[in-house]
């Protein structure tokens, strides 16, 4: 029964593909060189109409040979449904994608990375069976598994790895995470395919050099090699007919609605073999209340990131569990130190000390988070909170003293401080629409800082506009901005706080401190973690002193998970981390 389902739905997907392909068909073939495009067409590049049709047929054919091979265990079967707010931008196309949900699906669902992290964030084998690092840390050689098949039947090999790397360093691709390869040798010597399953990279010794291979899913060379780099973004591979090599086979994508995947029976036995669930469906639902309703009525197995206030309803339910774990994003208020009223670090320190961040975490996040004093998440090996924990704690009197010392005093008795020339200490805080927590933060700061004589004006701006206002090196049209960063495991704040980034996109704060510059220059090249730790500690202390941002908090991530779904592990590595091990209780299928 189950087996026949498997092929049937693959064929169904095939049908859908044909229809879709007709659309993109003449679109893709003759009109791809539309108004936005370079004067090359996908048809010439070998894609277009036949691509999806052919690929889907190949997947069907390859998978049909596994029909009837059902592992005899109770755990196999059922459909896991994950619901989240948005669509998966760029789909399975790792060449151009950097979206969090997209990379989760690339890395854990449909495609594979060379290595994965274990729970202690040490690299372990995945697509790469093993790897060697030369003694001088300038060469890394990966040995690729020889039993991983693309879903259309081709073997995954070293050429795919080399291909993925070459695409990523090709400027025309516009691979978003170029910083991964800063110290990799991007010349012709940089990558070498030793044999079909061995590939070697050369680089300058640097910290966490293996990290990019945890984050970059390997792409199929045999399908995409002919596509010009600049055209990759328009290739139907990403959104219409992805072909991966991971534990789940792509079945169907319905725009703005759902992605359906099917267990891959050919997934290597050593890596766990065929996933337990028959099918995995990702649904995008934009309204939190609807998501919660779906979860509570068992329409969803997992609700990704409910709002903090929904946590209680989830805890109250018998059918659903709440998972909570620290994550690696943080919320901050960035201060533009180019503005006269924010140029003095004492003012920025006062703004931080005048805001009760602990109360905000407790009230707004329902305690699901940790107050941040720097950019390094508490679970990271480089984190050292000992020095900075209490320095920036909430203290209105300390904040007042700092403002007095900086020359801001309420001279006319209107409740707002002025400087010697009579300018009011008035600061606007911008935030983007559609993010309630950020709006709340701006409004709370407005209320709390009014008590120490600082006038805050919360200003909502549409996201795209906000980004261009704060990122334009000439204008920097903001005083303060509420925004969030996701931290990668490989830490590097050069773009944020190094004086060389002053006119860069992210040099929002306008920080210019030689001592910070020195550390930021030094740190990326320290390979040994034990040698790096004291430097990171020094860096964190300097950040606290400088206060380029009021670091707000690291929110814990929460997810609602149906009690019928077993073996779910979620942590800072992501929600889809062990999706191949999820299994559904028999009575919930």
């Amino acid at each position: 029964m189950r087996e026949s389902r498997l092929t049937r739905s693959i064929q169904l997907a095939g049908l859908a593909m044909v229809v879709g392909a007709c659309g993109s068909g003449d679109g893709g073939a003759s009109r791809a060189a539309g108004p936005w495009m370079l004067e090359a067409s996908l048809a010439e590049a070998g894609a277009g109409v036949p691509f999806c049709e052919e690929v889907t047929a190949n997947v069907s054919a390859f998978m049909s040979q596994f029909e009837g091979q059902m592992p005899p265990s109770e755990r196999y079967g059922g459909t896991a449904v994950v619901g989240s707010i948005g669509e998966i931008p760029n789909g399975m196309n790792n060449h151009i994608s950097q979206d969090y949900t997209a990379s989760q699906h690339q890395n854990f669902v449909n495609l594979m990375t060379l290595v994965q992290y274990d729970e202690d964030l040490n690299p372990v084998a995945y697509l790469a069976e093993s790897w060697d690092v030369s003694d001088d840390n300038s060469e890394i050689t990966f040995h690729i598994r020889n039993d991983v098949y693309w879903h259309d039947g081709e073997l995954t090999d070293a050429y795919d790895v080399a291909y993925t790397f070459k695409r990523a360093i090709d400027p025309e691709t516009a691979f978003p995470n170029t910083a991964f390869w800063t110290h990799y040798d991007k010349g012709p010597e940089g990558v070498e395919v030793v044999d079909s399953f061995t590939v070697k990279f050369r680089m300058r010794p640097h910290a966490d050099f293996i990290d990019p291979w945890r984050a970059t899913a390997i792409m199929p060379e045999h399908l995409l090699a002919d596509v010009p780099s600049a055209m990759l973004g328009q290739h139907p591979f990403g959104m219409v007919c992805p072909v991966g090599n991971g534990p789940f086979i792509f079945v169907e994508h319905r725009q703005n609605s759902s992605w359906t995947f099917q267990a891959n029976p050919a997934f290597p036995h050593d890596l766990g073999g065929r996933p337990f669930v028959d099918r995995y469906v990702y649904r995008s639902i934009s309204e939190p209340t609807t998501l919660l309703t779906e979860l509570l009525t068992e329409g969803l197995s997992v609700y990704i990131r409910p709002t903090p206030d929904q946590a209680q309803a989830i805890l109250d339910s018998d059918a659903v569990d709440l998972l909570q774990y620290p994550f690696r994003d943080y919320v901050l208020v960035g201060w533009n130190s180019r503005r006269p009223q924010l140029a003095d670090k004492r003012v920025r320190q006062a703004l931080t000390r005048g805001t009760n961040r602990q109360e905000i975490v407790e009230a707004l996040l329902q305690g699901q988070g940790t107050v941040a004093n720097g950019s390094i998440p508490p679970f990271h090996w480089a984190y050292d909170g000992s020095s900075s924990e209490d320095v920036m704690s909430y203290d209105q009197n300390a904040a007042r003293a700092l403002l007095d010392a900086a020359g801001w005093v309420d001279r006319d008795g209107d409740g707002v401080r002025e400087n010697a020339s009579g300018e009011r200490l008035s600061i606007s805080i911008k935030y983007n629409d559609g993010n309630d927590l950020r709006q709340d933060i701006a409004e709370i700061m407005q209320a709390q800082l009014a008590e120490i004589g600082v006038e805050i004006a919360p200003t909502v701006v549409e996201w795209g506009t906000l980004i261009s206002q704060i990122s334009d090196p000439v204008d920097r049209d903001f005083d303060g901005v509420v925004i969030g960063w996701v931290v990668e495991y490989k830490l590097d704040d050069t773009d944020l706080f190094h004086s060389s980034s002053l006119s860069g996109t992210y040099g929002w704060a306008g920080t210019q401190r030689p001592d910070i510059d020195r550390l930021l220059d030094q740190l990326p090249l320290v390979v040994d973690r034990e040698k790096a730790k004291p430097l990171w500690r020094e860096y964190q202390e300097l950040l606290v002193d400088e206060q380029p941002y009021t670091f707000f908090y690291f929110p814990d991530r929460i997810d609602g998970v149906s009690k019928g779904l077993n073996a779910v592990v979620m942590d800072s590595r992501g929600e889809w981390l062990n999706i191949k091990d999820w299994w559904i209780s028999v009575d919930r299928r």
């Binding site: 389902r5 049937r8 739905s9 659309g23 993109s24 679109g27 893709g28 009109r31 539309g34 108004p35 936005w36 449904v81 669509e87 931008p89 760029n90 789909g91 950097q98 400027p171 691709t173 516009a174 978003p176 995470n177 170029t178 910083a179 991964f180 600049a230 973004g233 328009q234 290739h235 139907p236 990403g238 959104m239 219409v240 725009q255 703005n256 609605s257 759902s258 359906t260 649904r283 639902i285 309204e287 209340t289 609807t290 309703t293 779906e294 509570l296 009525t297 329409g299 629409d433 559609g434 549409e462 996201w463 795209g464 506009t465 980004i467 261009s468 990122s471 944020l496 860069g504 996109t505």
Partner: protein
Amino acid sequence: MVRRLLGAIPLVLGIATIIFFVVNLAPGDPALRFLNPNMTPEVLEQIRVNMGLDQPVHIRYVRWIGALARGDLGFSFTSNRPVLDIIKELLPNTLVLSATAIGVAFLLGILLGIVQAVRQYSLLDSVASIVGLFFYSMPSFWLALMMVLVFGLFAYQGQWFIQFPPSGMQSVDYAFLSPMAKVQDRLMHLALPATSLALVLAAGIARYTRSSMLEVIRQDFVRTARAKGLSEPVVIFKHALRNALIPVITLLGLYLPFLFSGTVFIESVFAWPGMGKLVVDSILERDYPVIMGGTLIFAMMVVVGNLVADVLYAVVDPRIRYD
């Protein structure tokens, strides 16, 4: 008629131009959506080039209009698909939803309006007005949320005899259902969103039907009809209704654009993959080609809808002539 249809071409061109410039002159840079600290400025520039944003606005306009003439709406920035493909996929969903809603709303509204007019100032009239107004006055997203909570969540928790799926167009196991079950599945998923949308519309239609019915009922020819001894239903439905429907038909043309805003909210709440939400999402994400393509399609639908309403108008009211 053909002339009017041809006359619609400059109209659509005008709309397309407005759309293009409104969208492209707005501040903000679509490429910045891809911003991330691991990215060098060169990459950002390359993304702009790949999107075609490195060209000046007037060049982009000429290219866009040129492509439009060939039926090409360009590529989505965020979805990496031809805009036309996306629209082909989502437009039918919106049409199903709004056609059902409009159908239900007109049926409900006209019936209610007739009853109210015939029984003017009765208790029934007042109650119907107030209940209708109640739904009309509610923000539609709120009504939709209530629907989700009541018929989705509470019905499930209370194990009511009827429960509706809170969201989506079909179940996740739709592909494995029998044909009959498929139809039922689709209808069940359609029920809540279509009702939410229809309730808001029906009140307005009922009002208009009532008003125009009241006017017509008091006119001489209706009196004549009654005097001839025709039965009341014949008088109402055969003589009065036809005349009373004239202003109601204009509503059809009026409601088409309204449906866009209506569907935005309904589609958001019920996770209905349709055009309204597509366009609003793409505004927030600055996906220019999708904004322009989607808006244009909507605009064209409205233009066609208005033409149809005009024709209907002439059909039912012979006093109006089109040359």
